[in-house]
Structure formats: C-alpha cells, structure tokens
C-alpha cells in the first residue's frame, strides 16, 4: 500500500517538470491517472535506465574486446601485433572510433526498432538468436527448480506450523536453516564432490551440457529424457538452495494464520479438514509468499550464472558469463536487457495480480 502512495507522489512531481504542451495534453487526456498505464510507463522507464547504466558501465570493464581478441590471436598464431589489430578491427562490426554517445544513440535507436544487434566478438551472430538458443534451458531449469521448491516449501512449512514444537518441527527448522544458509553454488560443489565424485552415483562429465550430443531437439522421448537428465543437477541445486526460506516463511505465516479467528470459527463450523487447510489456512498463509516470489525470480535468474558455470550447463547464465569474459559489450547488453525486463515485469505482474489473490488490495483503476 505504502509504495503506491509513494508512486503517486513520484508521478505528481514528475509531471510538474514536464513541458507545458505536454501538461495541457495530460489535462485534456488524463492518461497519467490510469494506474495500469502509469505502472507500465514506470516499468519501461526503469528498464531504460538500467540499459543506459549498463551501456556505459560495460564499456568501463577492465580490458576491452579488441585486446582480449588480439591476445587470443597472438597466442594462437604468433603474428605481429599490428597484423592482429588490423584483423580484429576489420572483423568487428562496430566502429571503435565513433563517440560513445553516438554508439549509445544507435543502440537505443536499434532497440526501438526491436533490433538487439549482433555480437561484436563473433560478427554476424544475432544476439536475439543467441538468447533464443540459451534462454529456454535456463527457464526450464530455473522454472522447474523454482516450482518444485515453492510447492515443497509450502507443504513442509505448513506441516511445521501444524506440528509446532514437535520433534518434526525442530528437525525441519534446523534443516531449513541449513538449506537457507548454504549458498547455492556451495550446494552445487557439494553435489559434485559427494554423490558425483566420492560416491560415484553419476558421471559428472556426462551431466554437462544441456542434452546428449547426437540427439535431435524436438518432441521425442530420447531428447526430452536427456534434457531432463542434464538439467537435474541445476534443478536439485535450485531446490536445495531456495527450499529452506520457503519453508520458514510459510511456517511463520501459517503460524500467524492459525491464530486468526476465522480458522477457529471454520473449525467450529464443522468444515472438512481438507477445506480448512486449503481454502482457509493455506490460501491466506500463502499471500505474503507471493510478494517474495517475484523478487526471488529475478534473484535466481541472476544466480544462474554461477550454478551454470559449476555444472557446465549451457544456459543463459553461461552465455552471460562468456559474454562478460570476452567483453562482448552488445551481448552483455542483450543479456542484461532480458534479465532486467524479467525482474521488472515479474514484479509488475505480481503487483497487478496480487489483487486477484487478496481481495482486500484489489485495485480499482483509479488508485
């Protein structure tokens, strides 16, 4: 609620600074008073700001793509520096001598035409194609991990609240603190060292990549099975690393709800246990978790970089990491655009749909 008030203030102060023509227009067509339009405009504005910041920041990264590539050529082929430089400069599809600001304008202009550009280190590769190649794997792994951990966390958290102060509760509290505390990449390393290497349950090398080589991507059993097999380790890691916090949040919110009068009354009304657990306790206890859900989606997508590097899973995080290491500015920008939009729009989506779950904050368009 409070953030909405703040948004309202933000809006009014913004409008006061805008040119007169625009304000008369706004008086005539009070679009800025439409809640949906306003939050959408804010989301776009945030993404633009992020893009601008990244555009200039990535060019400040130590080392630049030309040097990185020249060094590669020098070590591989043993030609002179000048030769290497000429080759690199001619193969790059941006003009290193153009001013930064012109490059920025070009970039934004292209984006407005829905063109994310091409990679500067491997010319001709369209970034949109690269993203389409890598992103689905990450969405698959992160999405399933997220779903499993959310559902499991809710069930376990509720049982902890129902059996409060029992041995079960204490054991699970301890376990969930453990799950929360251990960072996700540490889980990844533990999985490799323990079951992978020491106990030899599976072949760490064979689990790399996104599917077994030689299979044709498509809706065939072999490919899908292989894709699941390869995603299994990242999925398990995401589940282990996020399960604990879902459990604890759900436990504390269920504990709160169980003390609420309406649950007591529902029992006195002779409702069936299953109905009370789902519609009365579960639904109310889950409300605060949905707010966290959107924030953690962004966080988990971002943390994919480390997990995918550890398991050598060729997803979006791997793509981003590669782009960072070779200082492929345009690819980094493309990846950031995707990550930021995911974060901003999942938040927006959560904000807008929260009212569907909780009638008390249903938005009436005006507010």
């Amino acid at each position: 609620m409070t953030s909405r008030n703040a948004d309202a203030q933000l809006d009014s102060s913004d409008v006061s600074g805008v040119a007169g023509a625009l304000s008369t227009l706004l008086v005539k067509y009070p679009l800025h008073k439409n809640y949906y339009l306003r939050v959408f405009a804010q989301a776009i504005l945030t993404i633009w700001a992020v893009l601008t910041v990244t555009f200039f920041l990535v060019r400040q990264m130590p080392g630049n793509p030309i040097d990185v590539l020249i060094e590669q050529i020098l070590t591989q082929e043993g030609i002179s520096y000048q030769e290497a430089y000429d080759r690199v400069a001619s193969s790059f599809n941006f003009d290193p001598d153009a001013s930064l600001f012109d490059q920025y304008l070009d970039y934004i202009g292209d984006l407005l035409r829905l063109d994310m550009g091409t990679s500067i280190t491997s010319p001709g590769t369209r970034i949109i194609d690269e993203i389409a190649r890598f992103l689905p794997w990450t969405l698959f792994a992160v999405g399933s991990g997220f779903l499993i951990s959310f559902v499991l966390g809710i069930i376990l958290g509720m049982s902890m609240a129902y059996y409060r102060d029992s041995a079960l509760d204490h054991a699970m509290s301890l376990i969930s603190s453990f799950f929360t505390g251990v960072p996700n990449y540490i889980w990844g390393l533990l999985i490799i060292i323990g079951p992978g290497i020491s106990w030899n349950w599976f072949d760490v090398g064979a689990a790399r990549g996104t599917y077994d080589p030689g299979l044709t991507p498509g809706l065939n059993a072999a490919f899908i099975g292989s894709a699941i097999e390869h995603a299994l380790l990242p999925i398990i890691t995401y589940v282990l690393a996020t399960l604990g916090s879902w459990m604890l949040s759900m436990k504390s919110s269920t504990t709160g709800v169980l003390n609420d009068d309406y649950v007591n009354v529902a029992e006195a009304r002779g409702l069936k246990d299953r109905r009370i657990i789902t519609a009365y306790v579960g639904r109310n206890a889950m409300l605060p978790l949905f707010a966290q859900l959107s924030i953690s989606i962004g966080f988990v997508l971002g943390s994919g970089v480390v997990i995918e590097e550890i398991f050598v899973y060729w997803g979006f995080g791997h793509y981003l990491f590669q782009a960072i290491t070779v200082r492929d500015y345009t690819s980094v920008q493309g990846a950031v655009l995707i990550l930021s939009s995911t974060f901003v729009f999942s938040n927006l989506f959560a904000d807008l749909t929260y009212g569907l779950l909780d009638p008390r904050v249903r938005i009436t368009g005006e507010k």
């Binding site: 992020v50 251990v182 060292i193 960072i324 990550l339």
Partner: protein, 416 residues
C-alpha cells in the same frame, strides 16, 4: 531519562561499572539464547569461527612452502620413511642415528630432517636433475642398491614411482628391495595438501579473516545505508522518497554480477576489503524498502503520535521512539546482510571475476575448481574444505539470526 540525570552517579563509577554491566548483559543474553538450542549451537559455532580465523592464525603459520611430491594429498597425508628391505627395523629418527638418509628438495623432507642433522648423514637429491632424472626415482634406485639406508618421502609419490610400468626392470627392483617401515613419520596434514603440496588446514585457518571482515563491512554498510535512507525516505517523503525509491528499483533491476564485475574493475583495489564496500553500496535496497515500510507504519502508531503532539523533534522521534522499536529487526537483518555479502563475494571469487590478492576460502575454491582437484577423490579436500568452511559459517549465522528472531519477536515464541 529525567530520574537518571537527577541521581547521576560519579562518571568514573559508571565507567568502572561498564564492563560489569556489559558482562551481565551478555550473560543474560547467552542465557536466553540457551533456551533456543539451534541458536545456541549457531552462537557457539560463530565463536569457534572467531577463534579459528582471528586468533589461531597468530599461532599457526601459513604454509607457503611448495612441496612438489605432495601434490593434492588426501586428508591426513604425511611423510613416510622408506627403507631397504634388510633394514626394516629402522622406524624412527632415533633409529636412523649414524645412517645415511636421502631427502629430495621441494618436498617436506629437508625441513623435517633438519633438526637431526647432527646425528644423521643427509644425502640431498634435486627434484629433477638432467643427469639422474627425477630425484625421487634416483633416490629410490640408490635405496634399492643400499647406497643410502633410508629416505623420507610422501606416500603418494612413492606409489606413483613404484607403479610406473614403463620400466619393468626398475619396478621389479623397487618391489624387491624397498619397503615403507614407518608410514606416519611426519606430522599429518589434517586436511591434506593442495596442488602445490601445501597444508590445506593452515590455509583454512588463514583464509577466513579477510572474507569475514569483508562480509561484515558489506553488512554494516548496506544496513547503515538502508537504515538511514529508509527512515529518511519515510520521514521526509516527497521528492527525496521518490528519488530513493527509484534508485533502489534501479539497483535491484541491474544484474548484480555485472555491476560488481564492472565496479571491481573500475576501482582496481589492492585490498579485498574494498569488495565489501562495493557489496555494501549495492546491497541496501531490499532492507531499505522494509525499513521504510516499518517507519511509515510506526509513524501512525499512538506513541509516535503522542511524541509529535508533545512537540518533540524529528531527531528525538527517530532515535528515541522509533529506533528502539526497530533495533531488533535491524540487528537480524544485519546478520542476513553479512550472509548475503559473503555469498556475493565468494560467487565473484569462484567465477574468477574479482581480483585475487589474498588467499581466502573463495580463492581456494576457485583453484580447487580451475585446477580440477574437485574431480579427484584424493584431492577433493582442496575444494571440499573451503566449501564446508563457508557452508558452516553461513549456517551458523543463519541459526543465530533465527534465534534472535525468536527471542525478539514474541509472536514466534512458544505459547504459554
């Protein structure tokens, strides 16, 4: 307040009493903590970490001596005594008095035998020599031919040389003449050795201090910024509030990794602690939002209304009325901020994206991964030790924070 100022004791007395009051407060706190078993374990764990990373380094030197024959040794590995089959009775340094003992440089041998130089004749072999080939093999040949009576060597390398089937003649020679008479001659490497034969245990002892300090700095900075910006935003409102909210949204929306890599490169710090500063500067938005919301709701509460109607200053209201109500919440989030800062800096180190100056747990992990010992059962300790050190530290912090949460929040306390 007023009654205190009326009967204020002598300042010196207060000062003298201070340590005592502090002790009582700490003991009382520990006592409350003991009721929460998991939290108490976390607290003890943190104490243990403190001792290990801040006190033990003064007594245990960092093992920087490269021992090439102990590469990636398993847990508990130690130097062994190899003798000729006819001399199998030689087991200790005392037994070796008057004998000739071979040691190879760049192994732990020379330093281990140095104290006995008076009684023992030491025959030194170079790690590799153009004439005699690998020093270990040369020494073993001499041992088999009884040119020396014994040699100090690390078990794994002996096994490797003895198992080398490229020269069946040598293999037969060793099998016939060389035996290990004492497999526990040297002090054990508690956690094995890394890819340069250095004791991992000493690295664990030394590798935590900087990380923990960095994480605490990150936590302090982000918590402070969140506290100040959050409460100011809520109290002042208007354009400041709008600007800060927008800024926090922006920081949250930029992928953290990229920001940190860029900033890490920009600053080019000599000191890992700067990383903590960076993490702190980027870590405040979530807590700031929470604090802002809390202050906004506290502002509506009766006691703050009352304070305002009494004409008390904003400063007074914030620090005397509101802060005490939020302090436990802030404390708990401070601990979580530490775990978060720990998480981020180690992620950067593991990916090799942060500058590596200090040999920390994170750097050990990076080398463990990049040098592949992770995939080798014998060498797994190099990656596993820092993994466990980090994991248990984080778990202790979380357990401690959860215990604080339960102690401070009566809603969570067990009923009746």
């Amino acid at each position: 307040m007023s009654s205190k100022t009326l009967s204020a004791p002598h300042p010196l007395k207060t000062l003298l009493r201070l340590p005592f009051t502090a002790l009582v407060a700490v003991l009382g706190f520990v006592n409350r903590l003991r009721a929460n078993r998991a939290g108490f374990i976390g607290f003890l764990g943190l104490l243990a970490y403190f001792i290990m990373t801040f006190i033990m380094p003064h007594f245990i030197p960092f093992d920087s001596e490269v021992n090439l024959d102990e590469i990636a040794g398993p847990v508990g590995s130690r130097i062994q005594l190899a003798v000729h089959r006819d001399n199998a009775a030689l087991r200790s340094f005392e037994d070796l008095a008057g004998k000739t003992v071979g040691v190879v440089d760049q192994t732990g041998g020379p330093s281990l035998i140095a104290p006995y130089a008076d009684s023992i004749t030491i025959e030194k072999y170079r790690w590799t020599s153009r004439r005699a080939g690998p020093g270990i093999r040369a020494a073993l040949v001499d041992l088999a031919n009884q040119e020396i009576d014994a040699m100090l060597i690390f078990s794994k390398t002996v096994e490797e040389v003895r198992a080398d089937s490229s020269d069946p003649e040598l293999q037969a020679l060793f099998a016939e003449h060389v035996v290990i008479s004492n497999s526990e001659l040297g002090p054990p490497h508690l956690l094995g050795t890394d890819t340069q034969g250095r004791g991992i245990a000493t690295h664990i002892v030394h590798g935590g201090r900087i990380l923990i300090l960095t994480a605490v700095i990150g936590g302090v900075i982000s918590t402070l910024i969140a506290l100040v910006v959050g409460s100011l935003s809520a109290m002042i409102g208007g354009a400041f509030d709008a600007a800060m909210t927008a800024l926090s949204n922006l920081i949250l929306a930029v992928p953290r990794l990229i920001l940190l890599v860029v900033l890490a490169g920009l600053i080019r710090f000599e000191n890992t602690l700067f990383l903590g500063l960076m993490i702190g500067l980027l870590g405040w938005p979530p807590l700031m939002r929470a604090i802002r919301a809390q202050v906004l709701s506290l502002r509506e509460r009766d006691f703050v209304e009352a304070a305002r109607s009494l004409g008390l200053s904003t400063y007074h209201i914030m620090f005397r009325e509101m802060l005490p109500n939020m302090i436990s919440y802030v404390m708990i989030n401070f601990i979580f901020a530490i775990t978060f800062a720990m998480y981020e800096q180690i992620a950067l180190l593991v990916l090799g994206l942060a500058p590596i100056d200090d040999y920390t747990w994170g750097v050990m992990l990076y080398f463990g991964r990049s040098r592949g010992t992770l995939y080798n059962v014998d060498g797994a300790s190099m990656a596993l030790s820092p993994v466990l050190a980090i994991a248990f530290f984080q778990v202790c912090l979380v357990l401690f924070a959860r215990a604080l949460e339960e102690i401070f929040d009566p809603r969570l306390r067990a009923a009746v």
